[in-house]
Every structure is written in C-alpha cells, then in structure tokens.
C-alpha cells in the first residue's frame, strides 16, 4: 500500500521575482537542509513562545524521531513534562508529514485536558468523537473506556493510524484486561506510550508494556525472566547493564535529578483552627445525622444481601436499582460531610438541598433543626482565618476550594476586603477559562479555583497556594500543588492548609496525610503509593467509612502497607534505571 501525493499545481501566482543571488541562496538552502537525521525540530517555531522548552524535552523528541523503531515508551518521572514531549513529537510528525491520522487514548478524566493542551500549546485541534462521522477528522482524542465500547471500537480498529499515543500506559500492564486486548488490536504505524510509573508492582509489568508496544522485543515472558529476573516476585533483577542497554532502544526515562531544572522547595503551613462553640455544636449535630443515615443504609444493604440468595431475576434487577440509589445516597453523605466544614453558607446550602432526598418526617425535623442552628452562627472561623492569612499579602495567590458555592462566598468576602479576584471552575467554557487565567496573570491578585477546572493548568507565575478545604483524595492535593510547583517556578512554593480541629478535616490531615507524608513525598510518589492500596474501593469512600466508623482501622493499615510496598518498587526502579535513568546524560 502506498500513498503518493504530488502537489504539482501552484496555489500562488508569482508576485515578486527574486534576484539571481536570492535564487541561488534558495536552491542551496533547500538542498543543504536535506539531512538524514532530524537535528532540529521544525515544528518548534509554533510553540516555543507558548511554552518553556527544556533541553531534556528536545533531546527526548529528537531521540524518539531519529533513533527509535517507530515505537517509544516515554517514562519520565512526574513533573518533567511528558505531555510536552509527546506534543513536540506529535507536532514534528505532523509538520514533517510523517503522520496524519492520529489517535490519543487517555484515561477518562484527561481527555479534555489533552485536547486543551494540544490546542493551546501546540495549535493542534483534536476532536473528541461522539459519533462515527467524527472519525472523519484526522486527529482524535478519546478515553480508552469510551474507545473500547462497541460504538467506537469497530471504527477505531478499522482505521490504520499513523500515530497512536497511549497516556497513563501503566494501566495496560495486565495482559488479561479488556483494555490491553483492545489496544493490541489497533492498527498503527507509530506508537508512543506514556507513563511515569512503568513499575508499579514488579518488573513483569515492564515486560508486558514493552511487549504491547513492540511484540517480541523482549521475547517471551519466560525468556525475559530467565535473562533478567532474579526472583519470582519480580522485585530483583540480574544482568542490569544488558537490560538497561536493551531498554535504551525503546524507552526514555528522565529523572528529576538528572535534568537541568532547579526544583524549588515546598513550604507547608498548616493552620489548625478551633471552631466556635456554636460552630462545633452545629458540626457535631450534622455529623451525627450523617452517621445515622449511613448506618441505616448499611443495615438495609445487609438485609438485602441475605435476601438476595432466594431472589428471582426480576427481584434482583429491582434490588440493583435500589443499590444504585443507595450508592447515590452514600455519595451525597460523603459530599455533605465535606461541605459542612467548607464554610457555614456552603453547609446551609448543602443541607437545604439534601432535604429534597429525605422523605421521613422525623428526619426532616432534625434536618431543619440543624439548618436553623447553622443560620444562627454569627462568625465563620475559617473565613476569618483566611482573611488574617492574606491580610498583608501583596503577591498573587491562589485559593483552592472543592465547592463552587464556597468559591462565590470567598469571592465576595475577598472583594469586600479590597482584593481583586478572578474565579475559575469547571462550569466555564474554554474561552472563559483562558480569559480568567490571563486576567490572573496580568491583572488580578487572587485566583479562586475549584479542582474540576484546574487540571493541567500552569499557574507557576504565582507561588502561594491556599487549600481552603482539603480534598480527601491525596492525588487531588498533589494535582493542586502541581499547578504551581512545576517547571518554570522560580520561587519556593508556600502552601497553606486550613483545617478545623476535631473535624473530618483534621482527621484527614493528621491521621492520613501525615502518615503517608503527603506533603513531603516527591511528586509522583503519591501515585505509586495509592496504586499499592489493596482495597479496590474509592479512596473517598474508604476515608468516609473510616471516619464514620471509628472501629474501622483498615484504611490506616492499608495505607501503611502501601507505603512499604512503594519503597520496594522504588528500590527496583533504582536498580534498573540507576542514577542516570534512560534519558539524556
């Protein structure tokens, strides 16, 4: 199969004729620019003003284009700009006309972020397909979960892709999963796989990733084991030099300590605040209500589990529906628990909305009582504390909250106190988001941000970050900090955490985050630790259960074990990639 395109028609008519010398310069310039190796990224002129390009990123892009067999595993440590490297390679392939049909597979939460990054940084417009017609576009981004559905998978498999990019590729380490099998059937000319954690449990995962990328590169798993693996668990290796030499032909792993970047420090300031008597009374009542609701849900679940054994198929279906509802209710309880410590106004708003789901009269009376109690509270301790922290601040700062309602309150209060503010959240469209960030960069002092809208944004022109409420998922904290503590930040980053004593906030801060040293571990380690958690439950559910049920010590134990396992993997990583990694030296 071959494609020959000869553009032998001229779109442009001659306007100006050049001199003989200019003619000669043009002819020679074109002839001497013909070089076998790509020594210069010609696509760079389009993005060099938008992003700060680092040497290791240019080296990586050139190495992949020049030396790799159309396949590459980009495994830089977190924070070194893998997405930028992939973007540079994609751009180069496009401008050099190596690739036209391009598919990017991402985890569901990152599809829009990729689309935005490719647009804003590389001026490349990728489409997120909804229907089959959308595949007429050459550049597609789709979450792997959507891609493997019947509606999309047949179309994707039917196209011969010039370039396939797989983000968070470590999720394909298991050969038995549907995702792995699906990716295996995609026809592609070139393939880039991206992961910061090529090793999460053992070295066999690395084999599986490479085998997916380039079947046969390491021969069979048994042969690989014979040659390079010392023990059955796959945590110790042999022939490390040979293994490294082999990996260098297909994998790049730049390490933070080997690149020319000065990473600034993180200074953590934790503000543990005391609720006023009224606030604490309200909080206790609200939590006791939540606890009671949760116990009821659990009780029903237990009874139905028993019944399940004797149920018909129809009854089972009906129960599944109920379960779904209960799942939703549990989720709402989790949200409520988080909202009641965010701010008093947010708490009132959340409780009012929760009333809509309550049918029981007694419960309604109790809820109204709690709401009235909240309405009687005269002062908001957290808000006052925030104003104290920022009172004398002249520099730009960012406040993170998980809730849009709290965001509005903060905006009003800060405006009253003379701060110029701009908000940023997931409800805004792409244009509005751009404007907000530009306003913050050029004019406003405070950016009030929710988690939903901030992923992937570079806010390193500010170095002060305030966590007005703490997310329960440690990765979210990491993502927030990652907005400012990243390449390009020149000042030490100041992080202020606000938490109320004897509430779920201080519980998370002291009993969970402290244990895993959330604010101290290097960027990326958190992901590794969380991947080691044995429980398959959502971490927010786990935290909720362990907070509500004081006797539940599972999460604590699980987190500690995960931290130890992560240490073992770090050792293995060090043994394979040693001090120089697999990047530029």
């Amino acid at each position: 199969m071959k494609k020959i395109i000869l553009e032998t028609k001229l779109e442009k008519k001659p306007k100006e004729l050049i001199s003989q010398r200019q003619f000669s310069l043009n002819v020679i310039a074109n002839k001497i620019s013909v070089i076998e190796q790509v020594k210069k990224l010609i696509g760079m002129s389009e993005y060099k003003d938008k992003i700060q390009i680092l040497k290791h990123q240019t080296d990586t892009a050139l190495r992949v284009i020049n030396n790799f067999p159309n396949r590459a595993l980009l495994s830089d440590e977190v924070g070194l700009g893998k997405t930028i490297e992939a973007g540079m390679i994609i751009k180069e392939y496009i401008v050099r006309k190596y690739s036209k049909k391009i598919l990017i597979l991402t985890p569901a939460s990152l599809a829009y972020q990729w689309q935005e990054e490719m647009r804003s940084k590389f001026n490349e417009y990728f489409h997120i397909p909804k229907d089959s017609e959308d595949y007429d576009h050459d550049k597609i981004i789709i979450s792997i979960d959507t891609a493997k559905t019947d509606k999309h998978s047949q179309i994707i498999k039917g196209i011969y892709w010039d370039l396939l990019i797989i983000d968070e590729a470590h999720k394909l380490k298991n050969k038995e999963t549907l995702n792995y099998k699906f990716v295996k059937t995609i026809q592609k000319e070139r393939c880039l796989m991206l992961t910061a954690t090529p090793l999460q449990n053992n070295i066999f995962e690395l084999w599986a990733l490479v085998d997916l990328l380039h079947p046969g590169f390491f021969q069979t798993l048994n042969k690989f084991q014979e040659k390079y693996v010392e023990n059955e668990e796959g945590l110790q290796i042999k022939n490390p030099i040979e293994l490294k030499q082999k990996l260098e032909k297909i994998m790049i792993r730049n390490l933070r300590r080997n690149v020319d970047i000065k990473f600034v420090e993180r200074n953590i300031n934790t503000h543990i605040l005391d609720f006023s008597k009224e606030e604490m009374r309200f909080y206790t009542e609200a939590v006791s209500f939540i606890k009671k609701r949760y116990q009821e849900i659990k009780k029903i679940e237990k009874i139905e589990e028993e019944k399940q054994k004797e149920m018909s198929e129809e009854e089972l279906k009906e129960m599944a529906n109920k379960y779904r509802q209960k799942g939703l209710l549990t989720f709402r309880l989790i949200m409520l628990t988080r909202q009641i410590t965010s701010s008093i106004q947010t708490a009132i708003n959340a409780l009012e909305r929760y009333k809509e789901a309550v049918e029981d009269d007694k419960e309604l009376i109790q809820l109204n009582y709690i709401i009235d109690m909240a309405k009687d509270i005269k002062k908001d301790t957290k808000l006052e504390a925030l104003l104290k922290i920022v009172k004398k601040e002249k520099k730009k700062f960012i406040i993170f909250t998980s809730f849009v309602h709290t965001q509005k309150i903060l905006q009003t209060e800060l405006a009253i106190n003379g701060f110029s503010t701009v908000i940023f959240n997931g409800k805004m469209n792409a244009k509005e988001k751009e404007v907000a960030i530009e306003n913050f960069r050029n004019e406003k002092q405070v950016l009030i941000c929710t988690d939903a809208g901030s992923e992937g944004r570079n806010l390193q022109f500010s170095n002060i970050l305030i966590n007005f409420d703490l997310p329960w998922n440690p990765m979210r904290v990491e993502q927030r900090i990652g907005r400012v503590h990243r390449i390009g930040q020149t000042l030490d980053v100041q992080i202020h955490n606000m938490a109320i004593k004897d509430t779920v906030e201080s519980y998370i801060l002291n009993r969970l985050y402290e244990k895993i040293k959330l604010f101290e571990v290097s960027v990326g380690e958190m992901d590794l630790i969380l991947s080691q958690l044995k429980s398959k439950k959502n971490i927010e559910n786990e935290i909720f259960e362990s907070y509500i049920d004081e006797e539940n010590k599972e999460l604590n134990k699980d987190l500690m074990q995960a931290k130890t396992s992560a240490e073992d993997i770090k050792k293995l990583d060090g043994n394979i990639f040693d001090k120089n990694g697999l990047g530029h030296n």
Partner: protein, 387 residues
Amino acid sequence: MDLDIIEKFFLMYLKENKIEYEFKNKIYTVKFKKEDKQIYGTEIKCTFDKKTSEDNKINLIENGNFLLDNMIEKYNEKLFFSNLIVENQKEFIDDLDNKRNEIGKQNLSFSTEEKTEEFEYYLYEILLNSTSGREKIVKSLIYNKNICVDADGIEISHLKENKEVLEIKFQEEAGDELNNIIKNKITLFEKKHFEKINELSKIIVEHSEERYKELQQKEDKIRKDINKLREEIIRASTFNKKQTLTDKQKQLHKKLENLINKNKTKKAQLKKEHDFEQLALKSRDYSIHAKIIGVAKIKMPIFYTKYSDKSKYVYFPALNKIFNSKGQNVESEKEIIKKEKEIKREFKTPKVNYEKINQKLNKKVEFKKEITVEKKKISKPSMSNFI
C-alpha cells in the same frame, strides 16, 4: 553534504545580507548588523574546519549548527519565483565535444544544432516516509514542451538575471514528468520499506513460535512427570506405594487434560494475535509527498545532436549534462538499468510453522505414544497387575 557548497552558501548569505566579515587562518569573524545582534551577538567567530574549531573552541559550521540553521531557515521556507538567463559562452562548444565521448558513438556521423530555448525550472521537495525511515530529497527539473530533464547540479554561476520581461506560465505537465525523474529513488525506497517489513515480520514469527513452544513445553513437562511416575509405579515395592503413585499419576493426567484444553484457547489466541500483527504489518504503507518550492523561467542555449543511427541527444551547458531523447542522463542511464534489476519488491508473509515445531518437540520428547499405552494400564488399577 559537501562542505564547499555550505561555505559557498554561507558567503553568499553574508554578501546578500550585507554582513561584514573577516577571514583569517580559516576563521571567519562575522560582524552582525543591529537587527541581528539580538540573535547572534555583536560578532561570531566560526570556521568550516573541524580542527580549527576544536583548537580555538569556536563554532564549527555544519548541518545542525545554530548559525547555519538560521541562515537556511531564511531561504528555504517560502515559495520563490525568478526570471533568469544563461548567456552563450564559447567554452560550451568544447564541453559538448567532451560530453559526446560519453555517448560512445565515435564511429557514427552526426549533426549538431544550437538553439536558445525558454524553460521552466521547478524545484521540488519530496518527502518519503516508510517503515524503514524517512527521507527528504530535493529534486529539480527543467521543462518545456520538447524536453524535460533532471536539473540537479545546475551551475549557478552561469545564471544571470533576465532583464527581458517574460511571461511566466507554469506547466502542470511538468508534475507528471517528476514521477519519471524520481522513479529510481522511489524504487530503492520501496525496496528498503519491504526489507524492513520482512525483518519485523520475522521477529513476529519468532516471537509467536517461542510463545507457542512455551505452551507446548508446559504440557511436555507434565508428560515427562507422568512417564517418570510410570517407572516408579513399576518399581514400587508395596501396594500402598503403587496406589499412592497411581493416584498421583491420575491427578497429573487430569492436570494435563485441563492444560491441553486451556492451551487450546491460548494457542488459538496466539494464532489470532500473530495473524493480526502480520496483517497490521502488511498494511503499513509508505508515502511520497512532493511539492513545488521554487519556480524560475530560464532562457538558455542547448545543443541538439543527431546521429546517423537516428538517435538524438541534447546537451545542456548550464547543467553540464547530456541527455538522450527520453530525457535520461547518459551517464546514469546504464546504472539505473542495473539497479532496477537488483530490486526485488515481492513481499511474502512468513507463516508460523506450528506443525514443524510440534514435530521438533515430539521428536525430542517422544511421549505421546507411551502415554496412551500407560493410560490403558493405569486407569484401571487392579491387584493382578502387581501380583
């Protein structure tokens, strides 16, 4: 790339852009103008000589050098048009005599006619992209209604600006001729592409064979254990021991049966994967993309020579090349024919020879038969067997 050409370009660039420079001991000291100072600084010392560069720790001008890249960038990214002329010179006739010798028809009589004709000059950028790699080539051709020839190596020093106003018409037909001009390049490129595919295909086959072999070996390992047990059963001194070993052997048979069933699915999957990978490899395409990057009208003298055997040749002094009537350069004509013969473009997908592997393995291990026999003996143990 020839260093002389790069140096020629470098000097031409400085002259065209009125940039002052000094040249001493192989070192150029270039003094940049105000507008370039931000990029290059006030002055740059550079050389085209590697040793001089190392000894003096100064810029070596070669492909990939920042200074050269910027110079190139200024001239190679836009479509250009020009109107040129090659003036007739006395030495063209002498050159023609030399070129006639290359044709090798000294015994035939000939007649030569000199003409000045107008040509379109086209400079094309051709991007070739395939499994074996990527290549960019720049080709040029000159074209008019009578003849179209490869214009690489056009002698720039012969060209002058044409003061006459000529109407520049661009001939789309020239594009069709490009195909012929680059045919040889494409054929070689195709060859490399298929060689690479064959190489990758071989890796896939070997990989599949190994995986198949490993599955088979697991089965053979159990067969070996069963055979070992059979020997032990025969040698067993007590009934109890015989019974225990027989039970163990039964379990192994069961295990083998399960494994064979499991492997059946795995082998089918393996074959599916192998076929898919081969198919994907086969459908890998290669592409050729050509676009015009420069056009010029060139008025120039050419010489038509007609031999007594009716063959016709055209000599282009500006190219210092003689072409036959098909537009083929006489020098490279024979070489092209030779290369084309060498090229094999056929691609066949190698297949995994599962049967062959089976044969090899069975030859080595040779258990199948024995197991069938053993099964009969051991599946119904009875006292009489042992007394």
